[in-house]
C-alpha cells in the first residue's frame, strides 16, 4: 500500500524516492581535502576527495595517475551536480597519466579516490586546460619553433588566421601522448583532441583506420601532424606521456 508524503529518515515507504546525494554517499565527496581545488596537481589517498566549485564551460581534461609503489590498482569516482558517478580505473605502476576529457559546463566537479582503504594507493590528479589556475604553459610561438615539453608540461599560443599545423613529436622508440584543446567545439561542446606518436599504427582522419577510444589520431612515426584553420584561435597543448619519455616537443606553424 503506497504511503503518501515525503521521505523521512527512519520512516519506511514503499514509494520510491530519489535520495539526495549528500545523504546517500558515505565515501564519495565525504572526505574532501581541498574544497576549492583549482586543478593544481594534488595527491589523494584512498577515501580522500577534491572539490572544484566551478569547472570551465568548455573542454577540460582530468589527468589521473596511480602513484602507488605496490601493484595496487586504483579507482576514482567523478561526480558533478546531481549526476551519477563515473568510475575510472587508475592502473598501477604505469608511470603514465590516464585522462578523461569532458565539458562539465561550469558545474562543480568532485573527484574521490575510492581505492580500497588502508592500501597504499595514492592517486595524483590534475585538471588541464587553457586558463586553469596552477598551470604554467610555456609560450608556443606560431613560427615553427620547437617547444620541448616534459610530461604534464603544457604550451599555449595563438594560431594565425590562415591554415596552421601542429606537430607533436617524440624522437624515440617509445609511445608518447599529447592532448590539444582549441578551436570550435563540437556538438557535445568539446574541443579537445588526443594524439599518440610512436604508436603501432597510423589511425585517424585520412588513414581509413579508427583510432583507439578517446584518441583523435595516432602515428607510427616520431611525428603526428594536425592541420587546422581556426581563424586566430588559442591553441593549448599538453604532454601526457609516461614520465620517462624524453625528446618530446610540440611545434606550431602557419602553412
Amino acid at each position: 500500500m503506497a504511503s503518501s508524503g515525503d521521505y523521512e529518515q527512519g520512516e519506511k515507504s514503499s514509494e520510491m524516492v530519489i535520495p539526495q546525494p549528500s545523504t546517500f554517499y558515505k565515501i564519495i565527496s565525504q572526505f574532501v581535502v581541498n574544497k576549492a581545488w583549482d586543478g593544481s596537481p594534488l595527491v589523494l589517498n584512498p577515501n580522500e576527495g577534491a572539490a572544484m566549485p566551478e569547472t570551465p564551460n568548455g573542454s577540460m581534461i582530468l589527468a589521473y595517475e596511480n602513484k602507488s609503489t605496490e601493484n595496487n590498482q586504483g579507482k576514482i569516482a567523478l561526480t558533478s551536480g546531481g549526476s551519477d558517478p563515473i568510475f575510472l580505473v587508475a592502473p598501477a605502476l604505469t608511470n603514465q597519466p590516464s585522462f578523461y576529457s569532458y565539458n562539465w559546463q561550469s558545474n562543480n566537479l568532485n573527484v574521490t579516490n575510492i581505492s580500497p582503504p588502508n592500501t597504499d594507493t595514492p592517486i595524483r590528479i590534475q585538471a588541464i586546460g587553457p586558463g586553469m589556475p596552477g598551470q604554467k604553459p610555456f609560450p608556443l610561438p606560431a613560427d615553427g619553433t620547437s617547444v620541448p615539453l616534459k610530461t604534464y608540461d603544457s604550451a599555449q599560443g595563438m594560431a594565425s588566421g590562415g591554415l596552421s599545423q601542429l606537430i607533436f613529436q617524440c624522437r624515440a622508440s617509445t609511445l608518447a601522448v599529447f592532448v590539444l584543446i582549441g578551436g570550435p567545439p563540437d556538438t557535445s561542446g568539446n574541443n579537445s583532441y588526443a594524439f599518440q606518436v610512436n604508436a603501432s599504427a597510423d589511425t585517424g582522419p585520412g588513414t581509413g583506420k579508427t583510432p583507439p577510444p578517446g584518441y583523435y589520431a595516432t602515428s607510427r612515426g616520431n611525428n603526428c601532424t594536425f592541420e587546422f584553420q581556426w581563424g586566430g584561435a588559442t591553441v593549448f597543448v599538453a604532454n601526457l606521456s609516461a614520465e620517462t619519455v624524453t625528446n618530446t616537443a610540440v611545434i606550431l606553424r602557419s602553412l
Binding site: 624522437r171 622508440s173 610512436n198 603501432s200 599504427a201 602515428s219 612515426g221 616520431n222
Partner: protein, 247 residues
C-alpha cells in the same frame, strides 16, 4: 683464392674514442662503431630517404650475433649476424626522419658487432665533388662523393686497389616500391664471386652486385640525377675510387 676466413678487419671506432666499455647507450651519427653485447646505438633522427645500414659480427669465436633495430612505433626489425664471415650484412631502409635504435642482442657475451650507416641525408657527411668525365675521386672509409649525371646513360666506375673486400654505396635515381634508391656493390669479393645483374646469380641479401675483380661498372641511366657514392668498407686498408662517366 683467398681463404674465406679472414681475421676480423681493423675497424674505425671514431664514435667510441674514449669508450671505456661502461656505457651501453651511445649517441650515434652513423660513423663506424662496434657494439658489445647489449650495447645500443641511438640515432635521434635518421634521414628521410634511403639509408644503407651495414653490420658485421667481428667475434673471433663461433658466436652467432643478432641485432634489434627499433624506430618510432614500427615493429622491431631483427637481423642475424653470423660469425666468421667477412662480407658485411646490408639492410637498406628509409626511416622517414624517425629515430633509429640499434641494440646488440646477441646471446653470447663475446659477440662484438661492427655497425655503420650512410646515406645522402646523414648529417656530418660532406661529400667531395664528383665531376662527370673527370679523374677518379678517392673515397676514404665512411666518406662520399657526389655529382650530377650529365647524360641519359652514365657509368659509375667503382675501383678498389687493395685485395680486401670493398663495399660501395650508391644512392640516386628513382625510388622503388619500398621507397628506396640505394645500391650496394662489393668488389674484391672472392667468397661470393660474381653475382647480380648479368651473372645469373642473385646477389647476397641487400646487395646489388658482387665481383671478384677490383672494379665494377655501375649503370646509372638517370639524366640530371644527383648521384651519391660512398665507401662503406669495414677495413681501413682499402684504397677506393669512383669515376663518373656520362656517355
Amino acid at each position: 683464392m683467398e681463404n674465406a676466413f679472414m681475421p676480423p678487419p681493423t675497424v674505425l671506432q671514431t664514435e667510441s674514442a674514449g669508450f671505456t666499455g661502461l656505457k651501453t647507450v651511445l649517441p650515434w651519427s652513423g660513423a663506424p662503431l662496434t657494439l658489445q653485447q647489449f650495447d645500443q646505438a641511438v640515432m635521434n633522427q635518421a634521414p628521410n630517404g634511403s639509408l644503407v645500414f651495414e653490420y658485421l659480427n667481428v667475434t673471433v669465436t663461433t658466436n652467432a650475433g643478432a641485432l634489434s633495430l627499433t624506430s618510432a612505433g614500427s615493429p622491431t626489425k631483427y637481423l642475424q649476424a653470423p660469425a666468421l664471415i667477412f662480407r658485411p650484412g646490408i639492410f637498406i631502409n628509409n626511416w622517414q626522419g624517425n629515430n633509429l635504435n640499434v641494440t646488440n642482442t646477441s646471446t653470447a657475451s663475446n659477440t662484438p658487432i661492427y655497425i655503420a650507416a650512410i646515406g645522402p641525408g646523414l648529417p656530418g657527411i660532406s661529400p667531395s665533388k664528383l665531376t662527370a668525365n673527370a679523374p677518379a675521386v678517392t673515397l676514404p672509409i665512411f666518406a662520399a662523393a657526389q655529382g650530377i649525371a650529365q647524360s641519359n646513360n652514365n657509368i659509375l666506375q667503382l675501383q678498389a686497389s687493395a685485395s680486401t673486400i670493398t663495399i660501395f654505396v650508391i644512392v640516386g635515381g628513382p625510388t622503388d616500391a619500398t621507397g628506396n634508391n640505394a645500391y650496394v656493390v662489393a668488389v674484391n669479393d672472392s667468397v661470393d664471386g660474381n653475382t647480380g645483374p648479368g651473372t645469373g646469380i642473385p646477389a647476397p641479401e641487400g646487395y646489388y652486385a658482387t665481383t671478384t675483380s677490383n672494379g665494377y661498372s655501375f649503370p646509372a641511366p638517370w639524366p640530371g640525377a644527383t648521384l651519391f657514392v660512398a665507401n662503406l668498407s669495414p677495413a681501413t686498408s682499402v684504397q677506393a675510387t669512383v669515376r663518373l662517366i656520362s656517355l
